[in-house]
């Protein structure tokens, strides 16, 4: 199950991550030029809508197609994504991630069957028109058949997300999120679920709390601080270096072993994550775009003018809560060398020893 989610999540993040630069450009344009932005400008802010509705889904659809069938797959993926875009009334990230690779897969099936029997000299004619005609057919199929379903799914997800925010349930989402993160489902959760929700949310209100849930570098910082203060051996020694990579570099993976090696430390992550999310919820905090990677610098770049301090205070709350709980846990339940898994790693890496 975990591997299945990792595979699906890997595919989703494989479509999103190569395009994060475009998301960040969109976030910066939004945070600067919209009405409540840092430097409101009506002309320049007219880019915000077309970018989120057209550009970002097209990039995802293209990249998804390219993953399946190279550049040809990317092109047909973008064509068919266009049908999902105009067939629905909300930003179609989910649609793009489905029909982009899907269309490329169909073209790949056709190519593997038909390409060998194309007569000499007709290759270019085949290449151009197979892609063009199939793109036309699939676009019509998606527009007529699939877009009502996509609309229903995005509406359902959007309503679910909105009702979580309205009912104050967002902090509860932290419980599965922290567990999923350390199981290396961090990108699946963030790029696959929360970033699309956040972009749709931010398109309406200028900022979104969904960008803050998985990416907050505060709780991880607190955990590593706790190891620095109360840890032992290599856990303690490696903590300062890990803090720099985690908090400033935004590579959250660096702290996962500190939880995996001593699972009770998930309590510290929950303490940090839930208290930070409570603060974010109460103060109506949000970022204007996805902070990727989850570094404090990415956070600063994506701050909204309205409520910027609330975001930074939430990061600090998460760090303090995780550090306090983590330190107590390490004092009460010190990490044993056998808990560490490091000895194990040394043993199993001896050649010829089957474990």
């Amino acid at each position: 199950m975990r591997e299945f989610i990792q595979r699906v999540g890997g595919a989703a993040s494989g479509m999103v991550i190569p395009n994060i630069g475009a998301f960040i450009a969109w976030g910066l344009i939004t945070s600067l030029y919209i009405g409540p932005g840092w430097a409101p400008n009506e002309d320049l802010s007219s880019m915000v809508g077309p970018m989120i509705v057209n550009l970002l889904p097209l990039l995802l659809g293209y990249t998804g197609g390219k993953m399946i069938h190279g550049h040809r797959g990317g092109v047909i993926g973008a064509v068919v994504t266009m049908a999902a875009i105009v067939g629905t009334s909300s930003p179609q990230f989910l649609g793009a991630m489905l029909v982009g690779p899907g269309a490329a897969w169909v073209l790949k099936q056709l190519d593997t069957r038909a390409r060998d029997s194309v007569p000499e000299g007709f290759e270019m004619l085949y290449d151009n028109f197979s892609s063009g005609i199939l793109g036309w057919i699939l676009a019509v199929v998606v527009y007529r058949g699939l877009s009502p379903i996509l609309q229903a799914i995005t509406d359902g997800l959007g309503n679910f997300a909105a009702s979580m925010v309205d009912n104050g349930l967002v902090p509860l989402a932290d419980i599965p999120i922290e567990v999923a993160k350390v199981l290396f489902l961090n990108n699946a959760v963030n790029q696959g679920v929360l970033t699309p929700l956040g972009v749709a949310d931010a398109a309406e209100s200028g900022k979104s709390i969904f960008f803050l849930l998985e990416t907050n570098p505060g709780p991880g910082l607190g955990l590593l601080l706790a190891y620095w203060v109360a840890g032992t051996g290599m856990w303690k020694q490696s903590a300062p270096g890990s803090i720099i990579i985690h908090f400033f570099g935004g590579i959250h993976e660096i702290y996962f072993p500190y939880v995996l090696g001593h699972p009770i430390m998930i309590l510290a992550m929950w303490a940090g994550g839930i208290s930070a999310d409570l603060w974010f919820q109460v103060t109506n905090a949000g970022l204007v775009g996805p902070p990727s990677p989850g570094s404090i610098f990415a956070y600063i770049a994506m701050l909204p003018r309205d409520g910027a301090a609330n975001v930074l205070i939430g990061v600090a709350i998460g760090a303090v809560a995780a550090a306090v709980v983590g330190t107590i846990l390490l004092r009460v339940r010190p990490i044993k060398e056998t808990d560490a898994g490091v000895d194990e790693a040394i043993d199993t890496s001896i050649p010829g020893v089957d474990v």
Binding site: Q6, F184, E253
Partner: protein, 106 residues
């Protein structure tokens, strides 16, 4: 269990979930270590689901070993690590390469 002679190792692939963050970081630290030890081998990084077909050794975190195994070439040796910095199994890999030992999956 797969194994390979150090002399036959041409390509090492660091795999992480997205192939953008931690694998790139660990790759760079491994390249530095290899250079220091005088080991000449190509070291690349990729998502755990898209490991290049000509990879001799796949290096990945324990939490991603299952996915990496499925997408790795059949004969590739799989090295798992726990810590992202100074993990003993990474240091051992470089040592084995430098001394020409046999390298076995962990």
């Amino acid at each position: 269990m797969s194994s390979i002679e150090a002399a036959d190792v041409k390509k090492i692939c660091l795999a992480c979930e997205a192939g953008a963050g931690s694998s790139l970081m660990v790759k760079n630290s491994l390249i530095k270590k290899a250079k220091k030890a005088g080991v000449e081998v190509e070291i690349v990084h990729s998502p755990a689901t898209q490991i290049p077909a000509d990879t001799d050794i796949v290096v990945t975190h324990q939490g991603l070993a299952g996915v990496a195994k499925q997408s790795a070439p059949e004969n590739a040796v799989l090295i798992q690590y726990l810590m992202f910095m100074n993990d003993p199994s990474l240091n051992k890999l470089i040592k084995d390469l430098a001394e020409g030992n046999t390298i076995t999956s962990t």
